[in-house]
């Protein structure tokens, strides 16, 4: 470095050199650097999430016994209702298997649920991601579906050893096939409208003109198995308005997403029980 240069000139020179170095670095080096720095900070996020769990535990410890007894009664009622639903589900599944065997149909894909805590939320206007506390070591792979009690959360964008990043359905980069409840035609869903201090919304396109919605009679938009990521019938959001597209063949409109999506604490990853078949080129 020349000695007669001022500190500012040296800084400028070094910044330019550093930028050129990064620009010409091989893609492999960039990916490796990204993975290295992600893995380096993941333990800190995990530690913070465990601290939050401890805080929640001690907050709950402060509840009175009468509160716990009431919660226990509510849970026992729910358990009884779910036990009944389980029996009905078992009977329906048995019927489904019998019909599949009778008509020689391909069986529906089966999943197991891997429940994971949310350890980080990054919800800006340009990206909407969550980091969860389960990764490749738990069977989580990129592309898998993530759900919660209110429906679809998103899909796994990347997975490292102990953590995974989920792209939310409210993210501007999110696209998937969908369909309206009770309507077989597939439509296109895309995320991306997240106005400040309001509930996130998405957009639905290529809606057939025979689908009608109104403020009084909104329709539920559900996931479609056509995309290969999500099973059929999981809630994406509600559509209150549809406007005709310029071509007159289709309609499009905003999709109101679940408000709980922005404050999730726990989600479930749908891990296929049978590995995906590779599609032929």
């Amino acid at each position: 470095m020349p000695r007669h240069l001022s500190f500012q000139a040296k800084s400028l020179l070094l910044v330019v050199l550093l930028l050129l170095l990064w620009w010409f670095a091989p893609a492999l080096v960039k990916r490796w650097t990204g993975a290295l720095f992600h893995e380096f900070q993941a333990p800190a996020w995990t530690a913070l999430s465990y601290l939050r769990d401890v805080r929640t535990y001690w907050t709950l410890r402060g509840h009175s016994k009468s509160d716990l007894i009431e919660a226990g009664i509510d849970l026992s009622r729910l358990n009884a209702a779910y036990a009944l639903r389980n029996q009905q589900a078992d009977a329906l599944e048995e019927e489904l298997r019998r019909l599949e065997a009778f008509f020689d149909l391909p069986s529906h894909p089966q999943y197991r649920y891997e429940v994971a805590r949310v350890i980080r939320r990054d919800l800006s206007g340009w990206w909407q991601t969550l980091v969860i506390r389960k990764g490749r070591n738990h069977g989580v792979e990129p592309g898998q579906a993530v759900v919660f009690a209110g429906g679809v959360v998103g899909r796994i964008e990347s997975a490292s050893a102990y953590t995974a990043t989920v792209e939310l359905i409210s993210s501007p980069r999110f696209r998937t096939a969908a369909r309206f409840d009770g309507h077989a035609a597939p439509v296109e869903y895309r995320g991306g409208h997240n106005p400040s201090l309001q509930v996130a919304t998405g957009l639905v396109n290529t809606v057939p003109v025979d689908v009608f919605v109104s403020l009084r009679e909104p329709r539920r938009l559900t996931s479609s198995a056509l995309g290969g990521t999500f099973p059929d019938g999981l809630t994406l959001g509600w559509v209150y308005r549809l406007d005709p597209a310029p071509d007159g063949l289709f309609q499009s409109g905003p999709v109101r997403l679940d408000p709980r999506l922005q404050g999730l604490r726990e989600v479930a990853v749908l891990i296929p029980l049978t590995p995906r078949e590779e599609t032929a080129p």
Binding site: F7, Q8, K10, S11, L12, L14, V15, L18, L19, W22, K30, R31, T33, G34, A35, L36, F37, H38, F40, Q41, A44, W45, L48, R120, R121, D122, L123, S124, G125, W126, W127, T129, E157, T165, E167, S171, P172, R173, R190, G192, H193, N194, P195, S196, L197, Q198, V199, A200, P259, Q262, G263
Partner: protein
């Protein structure tokens, strides 16, 4: 303790701030507001120090942020070292002992950074017009917090260095 050791301690403090900011963003996420406080990690290294180690730490912070956010690879790295250069170039034009000057430069840096980030992201995702509607609120909120915190954060780091035996005021005397 050597200068590099003291700078590493400052870097650790900024890493803690980085984690705190990500926690705060997690808490305020349900209100659909996002805090960008990137300038706070860099303003002291750029504005107060005449040491090229600041560039290394700015690059490291950029790589950390790149790995944590869903932006194209290298955006935060380039942005952070660009911000560091901006603060370095401001050293001769700003009175660092004046809180108003430090706050003003920090807010200007934040405006520049968020504008640049918005342009890069708009080019990477041309089909995301909704993000622009979100920008004014995030920008206003972030600049308000940066303007409020920039001076106390710099003063804290300055005092920490002074406690560790590095008198910046003597070093930064006009040349």
């Amino acid at each position: 303790m050597t200068h590099n050791g003291r700078l590493s301690l400052l870097f650790a403090c900024n890493l803690v701030l980085y984690l705190v900011v990500s926690e705060v963003n997690g808490v305020i996420g349900p209100w659909t507001v996002h805090l960008h406080l990137d300038v706070l990690y860099l303003v002291f290294f750029g504005l107060f120090l005449r040491h090229l180690g600041g560039l290394l730490f700015a690059a490291l912070m950029g790589l950390f942020a790149d790995a944590a956010h869903a932006a194209p690879a290298g955006v935060f790295l380039a942005g952070y070292i660009g911000l560091w250069l901006f603060f370095t170039l401001c050293q001769r034009r700003v009175r660092r002992q004046n809180p108003a000057h430090v706050r003003a430069v920090a807010v200007a840096g934040q405006l520049l950074w968020m504008g640049a980030l918005a342009l890069v992201m708009a080019m990477a995702q041309p089909s995301a017009p909704g993000a622009w509607m979100r920008l004014p609120a995030d920008l206003g909120f972030s600049c308000l917090v940066v303007g409020f915190l920039a001076w106390p954060w710099c003063r804290f780091q300055n005092k920490l260095l002074h406690t560790l035996g590095w008198d910046l005021e003597a070093e930064l005397a006009p040349r």
